[in-house]
């Protein structure tokens, strides 16, 4: 595997700021981005990604490739939480298994844009519709996880009346982050090139800077949360690495089946591989308060996210380019 790819990925300023954040925590510095400033970066990124995606989507329009890619994304968003749940049930109770399954079935927008940044340094740009895939993949795993928890959880007395399907769908699809990215995508679609020119300095020019700040904060958070995993036992940390690799590889295979370009294949596989850092925690807190957030949050934030941006992105890109050799081997 090309070591240049990894290095190239790592010396990019936004990624370096991620490491700076981790370093700060490891040497016990008091560097901190206080609440609610991180929320500002989160809102900004969701708005900018969604809007950009919408503008691009309007350019390409909806064709067969788009439909195939979105269907593959949707398929993964439904299937991943199901098999993740049953694997996790080997060691965990129903609530935690469901919450972690939801986390790995959904996506991480910041992992997505780190992959875009990686492609840009190679002179590539993913298709605009991949942002639609991102938006589509955020929610289904939330619904699946709640259904699974309902089916397998021990019945509690006088609990029936509290559960409402409309509440579940609301949490899944009207979650603040899902709504903001989807809404911004629709606004991008509606306003097109002209709207893009209006907002470009804000949504594009300063984007990498805001991303650097965001990743600095992610580094701080990831490093701080690692200690929470002490209580997680020997099963979950490896899971947080094996699961994304597995999901990413399935994503690659699907991409090849539907004939995606390498850059779009990378986006699909990194979406499959990434674990939710914004939408799922918000939904789980309300819908599965029995699950322990100090498991599913740090697994995603402190293991899967750094793994994906350091190893995952270049690895999947390498595999995508080797896939024509590998897939035949796989079939034999």
């Amino acid at each position: 595997m090309d070591i240049d790819l990894i290095i190239n990925n790592l010396v990019h300023p936004p990624v370096l700021f991620f490491f700076l954040g981790m370093v700060a925590v490891f040497c016990k510095s008091d560097l901190k981005i206080p609440d609610p400033l991180p929320k500002l970066f989160t809102l900004y990124l969701l708005l900018a990604i969604g809007f950009h995606g919408g503008v691009e989507l309007r350019k390409t329009g909806i064709n067969q490739e788009v439909i195939f890619a979105l269907s593959a994304a949707m398929f993964m968003a439904v299937i991943v939480p199901i098999y993740a749940f049953f694997i996790l049930r080997l060691k965990l109770d129903v609530y935690n298994a469901a919450a972690i399954a939801a986390t790995y079935g959904s996506i991480s927008a910041v992992t997505y844009i780190t992959a875009v940044t990686f492609l840009q340094t190679l002179g590539l740009e993913p298709a605009g519709y991949m942002v639609a895939a991102l938006a589509l993949m955020e929610s289904p795993s939330i619904v699946i996880a709640i259904i699974l928890a309902r089916i397998y959880a021990p019945k509690k007395e006088n609990d029936e009346n509290e559960f409402s399907w409309s509440g579940v769908f609301k949490e899944a699809f009207l979650n603040g982050s899902v709504l903001l990215i989807t809404g911004s995508l629709l606004i991008g679609l509606a306003s097109g090139e002209e709207g893009w020119d209006t907002l470009r300095p804000f949504t594009k020019d300063i984007f990498k800077g805001m991303l650097s700040f965001f990743l600095l904060d992610m580094g701080l958070l990831a490093a701080k949360r690692i200690s929470y995993l002490k209580s997680a036992g020997f099963f979950l940390p490896p899971f947080a690495i094996v699961m994304p690799v597995l999901n990413g590889c399935i994503g690659i295979v699907l991409s090849k089946l539907i004939g995606l370009q390498p850059e779009n294949a990378l986006m699909l596989s990194i979406l499959c591989a990434s674990a939710s850092d914004i939408a799922v925690p918000a939904a789980m807190r309300l819908s599965l308060p029995e699950a322990n957030p100090s498991l599913y949050v740090p697994m995603s934030l402190a293991i899967t996210f750094p793994f994906n941006i350091i190893v995952g992105i270049p690895l999947f890109y390498y595999l995508i380019n080797k896939a024509d050799e590998l897939i035949p081997l796989f079939w034999k």
């Binding site: 904060d217 958070l221 929470y228 914004i278 925690p281």
Partner: protein
């Protein structure tokens, strides 16, 4: 100068609007809310999740009479069961406020 009760509730801040609604239904005169409360309890550390502002508690204080106090405890029990937290009660003297 009147003896009244102070009810203090700590629970997940996503439930704060529901608690407020219950208090309105009970008809208490007023209440105060502090939203940025972190802490530790049976469900582990709740230290806030900076990216999204999740996972914080709220502190709700109600100055009320004894009848209301019992109604409040009754009404919020299911919320605290589900979302964690606690409710404590103490005697205070209302020094300035509505009769």
């Amino acid at each position: 100068m009147k003896r009244v009760m102070k009810v203090e509730i700590i629970t997940d801040s996503i439930e704060v609007e529901n608690v407020a609604k219950l208090l309105d239904e009970i008809g208490v005169y007023g209440y105060s809310i502090i939203n940025d409360v972190v802490g530790k309890g049976s469900r582990g550390v709740r230290s806030g999740y900076e990216l999204t502002g999740l996972f914080k508690n709220s502190y709700i204080m109600v100055v009320c009479n004894e009848v209301e106090m019992h109604k409040i405890a009754e009404a919020i029990r299911p919320i605290i069961r589900k979302f964690g937290g606690l409710c404590i009660v103490s005697d205070v003297v209302m020094s300035i406020g509505k009769k």
